[in-house]
């Protein structure tokens, strides 16, 4: 039985559903089969993963000394209340 192949253009629209585990087992198999044979889509999926990984590294803003001081003063006020 010939199942219809996904095109690259379809794959890039399914990548989030794939990573979120939202594809049916059948769709998932077609997705993985396509990517395994397609260099362009392999790179694409890697780039999406790299993007997510980089987003996870966005630096924390720093708390200004002034803001921290204000919060600690609020804490002392609370403690003595």
């Amino acid at each position: 039985m010939e199942i219809e192949q996904l095109s690259c253009r379809e794959v890039v629209e399914l990548v989030t559903d794939y990573l979120e585990g939202a594809l049916s087992p059948d769709e998932r198999a077609r997705f993985e089969e396509h990517v395994a044979r397609c260099g362009g889509c392999t790179v694409y999926v890697e780039q999406i993963r790299a993007t997510i990984e980089l987003l996870g590294r966005v630096p924390e803003g720093t708390l200004s000394a002034e803001a921290e001081q204000e919060l600690l003063e609020a804490f002392r006020g609370w403690r003595s209340s």
């Binding site: 095109s7 690259c8 253009r9 379809e10 890039v12 629209e13 990548v15 989030t16 559903d17 979120e20 939202a22 397609c38 260099g39 362009g40 889509c41 790179v43 694409y44 890697e46 780039q47 999406i48 790299a50 993007t51 997510i52 980089l54 987003l55 996870g56 590294r57 966005v58 630096p59 924390e60 803003g61 720093t62 708390l63 803001a67 921290e68 204000e70 919060l71 600690l72 609020a74 804490f75 002392r76 609370w78 403690r79």
Partner: protein, 200 residues
């Protein structure tokens, strides 16, 4: 937790250092200015202190703090008459957005390779990915997203929330969350690609 209940200042300071930046970032989703977001975070800390004796530990401390934050932020947004990006959150449909420009692909009617890459993406050099400048490009791309997409991406990928936590905080369906996340990640990838390839 226990130390906080015992009024230990060091424990409070540690908690503030650990979570304040995240609180401000999440508050910023709801309110319109950075200053308002910082105020919401401040107010949250006061509410945490005032509520700590009643906190029963049914959820994690982190979950509890963020629940207080989102409540305060929503109230504040309402008071400021700001409508959240939530109409867009409820219906992200609208104009379909392609993850990748159509001209990167061959024609869907192409005899041999319909919808196949015409111009394939090229692997990114690892060492440039980690450069500070790349991070700036990334942050600008996030800033440039429509509010609803930025909200979902910030919570999921920057703050690392689960999809369930994001659905609850933003009151959206799983499908809408996924559509918004997809569009947001696709755009950020595209920004990174055009930056990393421009001087090859």
């Amino acid at each position: 937790m226990e130390r906080l209940r015992r009024r230990d200042e060091g424990a409070f300071a540690a908690l503030v250092r650990m979570y304040n930046a995240s609180l401000v970032r999440v508050a910023r989703i709801y309110v319109s200015t950075m200053a308002a977001a910082e105020e919401v975070a401040q107010e949250t800390w006061l509410a945490v202190l005032n509520g700590i004796d009643r906190f029963e530990g049914r959820s994690s401390l982190r979950t509890w703090i963020f629940r207080i934050l989102t409540n305060i932020a929503k109230t504040r947004a309402q008071r400021d008459g700001r409508t959240l990006p939530f109409s867009a959150l409820q219906d992200p449909g609208g104009v379909p957005e392609a993850a990748v420009d159509a001209d990167r692909f061959l024609d869907p009617e192409h005899p041999r390779w319909p919808g196949h890459w015409a111009s394939r993406p090229v692997g990114w050099p690892e060492e440039r990915l980690l450069a500070g400048e790349t991070m700036e490009v990334l942050e600008r791309a996030v800033e440039a997203l429509p509010a609803s997409q930025r909200a979902v991406l910030t919570l999921r990928d920057i703050e690392g929330w689960s999809s369930e936590e994001v659905r609850n905080a933003l009151e959206i369906s799983e499908t809408n969350q996924r559509v918004l996340l997809h569009r947001a990640r696709s755009k950020v990838r595209r920004a990174l690609e055009s930056y990393l390839q421009e001087d090859d």
